[in-house]
Amino acid sequence: MTKFSVSELFATGQTEILVVLIMVSVMMAVIFLARPAITTGVSGKILAFMGLFALPALCIAGGIAVHTQRSEQTQFCISCHSMEPFGRTLYIDNPMYIPAAHFQNHRVPADMACYTCHADYGLFGPLRDKIRGVGRIYFQYVSTPPNPIQIPGGFKNGQCLHCHAGARSFIENPVHSAIMDTLTSDQVSCVSCHDMIHPVAQLSQLKFWSPGQ
């Protein structure tokens, strides 16, 4: 498991605000637990509405935002034991490996590398991703992760085309332009040619890049 410091959790400031909001809500709820009779007056009723409805609802909404943002981070994805080798492939010292080249050269945001290439960009994509994510947590802690780990339904070209479609270097490439229709319709997978991806079985034979060295 990857360990994180508390300072990393508070990096955005959003988490700090939520923690303060939760503490205020808890304190208000404690008042109503100890003295529910204060709700007989109008001001008590308003306070109860704030403390037992508005603030807790706001805390849940804030929690959804914080957890959604956190679950899109590279460190979160590779915090599952079975995903650690996939995280290591991002540091392979060979630009022929597509994920490593994208990650090391910041062609994708480094802190959201997994999510950027594997997110479902459909209308309810983020929701579907979270549901799939809960299924993977089940595999991690209750069942056994499949070996090898594969993307359910296969890798969709839309995940590459989300950025590459329309890019000059992509559309002017004669190989791409010759099969553009088959690429956009998923008849030919991008990874059928660009197949140097996550070589988790050969990690011991590869050199790795260490940032800052």
């Binding site: 959790l9 923690v19 037992l52 807790p56 849940i60 929690g63 957890h67 979160f76 994510g133 809960v134």
Partner: protein
């Protein structure tokens, strides 16, 4: 047993207790960077808080007493 028979104070206490438990679970889920923290948030924190809120709203609908007269 009807909700109206339980009494406002008991419902408020139950609601407060659930909201406190849910929010404390949310606090733990936020400070714990772990794949299970998402599960803790969705299934425990959000669940308990939502039930607490619903009990509070139910108490307003089913148990709230008649309005007091504003006679001078």
């Amino acid at each position: 047993m009807k909700i109206s028979g339980i009494g406002m104070n008991r419902l408020l206490r139950a609601s407060s207790l659930l909201v406190i438990a849910g929010l404390l679970a949310e606090l733990v889920s936020i400070l714990w960077f772990h794949p299970l923290s998402f599960v803790l948030f969705v299934f425990v924190a959000a669940g308990l808080t939502a039930i607490g809120i619903l009990i509070f709203l139910a108490s307003l609908v089913f148990v709230a007493g008649p309005p007091t007269d504003n006679q001078g």
